[in-house]
């Protein structure tokens, strides 16, 4: 097994274990930690594809920012000592069944589609991706900037306590 295959195997296993922890465990803190582990694994998968810049971005954004923001939101709100109500078995089984059907349908499509023949890995230099971003896809680049600014302002507006409701208290 070559280098990329070993990296892919290890990081795919890490990502799947993290995803199962993120979904299956009871405590919301354990879910967030599992999510961070899953995103580390996905970054490793990108590394095995030769996309090192994307791997670094995933670690920075998901592990470094999104997971921390989730921890902040949970600490601001959830009463952690309150036990979760038990979940009815039929709903869990239904969710598992539906997810299995969805994944099986996707896998059937993957198997039946005629993919173009593998050309071997094309390594992408981060500089080339950046060049494309500022030449061919500059509109998408600017739209992402606008989207992030609007989302940030919207998040502040939604989450802050309005003056009227603060006076009511």
């Amino acid at each position: 097994m070559n280098w990329a295959g070993a990296v892919f195997g290890a990081s795919a296993a890490t990502a799947l274990v993290g995803a199962v922890c993120a979904v299956g465990l009871k405590s919301i803190f354990h879910n967030i930690l599992g999510f961070a582990l899953a995103m580390l694994g996905v970054a490793g998968v990108f590394l095995s594809l030769g996309s090192d810049f994307l791997a670094v971005v995933f670690v920075l954004v998901y592990v470094g920012a999104v997971a921390i923001a989730m921890v902040y939101a949970v600490m601001l709100s959830v009463p952690l000592d309150q036990p979760a109500r038990p979940r009815s078995r039929t709903k869990v089984a239904g969710a598992a069944l539906f997810a299995a059907i969805g994944a099986a349908a996707i896998w059937l499509v993957v198997r039946s589609a005629a993919w173009p023949p593998a050309t071997g890995r094309l390594d992408v230099a981060a500089a080339w991706a950046g060049y494309r971003f500022l030449r061919d896809y500059v509109l998408a680049f600017e739209l992402i900037s606008v989207l992030l600014v609007v989302a940030m302002m919207g998040a502040v507006m939604v989450a802050r306590r309005s003056r009227a409701s603060a006076e009511e208290r």
Partner: protein
């Protein structure tokens, strides 16, 4: 490395995320599941453009845009979560039924 390995991994990740989105009741856990599904999509795009495509930097561009959209979505989702918790002292989606007729 064949693309089918990466596509299979992404399918599994997407399935786990879909299960979490359907099964969990906490809004934060549903947001986490949504992020897992988005990450699976990014893996698909990057794997297909890198292994079979002729333009591998296109996949990088799409994946970076997806990261940006997911970050914006998380910011909005978490602020909604804080606001909902402040209004109703619960984040359980099954108790948020005030709009039910």
């Amino acid at each position: 490395m064949s693309p089918a390995l990466y596509l299979g991994f992404a399918t599994l990740l997407f399935g786990v995320g879909l299960y979490g989105l359907l099964q969990r009741r906490s809004l934060v856990a549903m947001l986490i599941s949504l992020e897992l599904m988005l990450a699976a999509v990014s893996v698909n795009v990057v794997a297909l453009t890198t292994l079979t495509g002729h333009d591998a930097s296109m996949g990088q561009v799409v994946a970076l845009i997806l990261v940006g959209v997911a970050a914006a979505e998380t910011a909005i989702g978490l602020s909604l979560f804080v606001a909902i918790h402040r209004a109703s002292h619960s984040i359980d989606v099954e108790t948020l039924s005030e709009l039910k007729g």
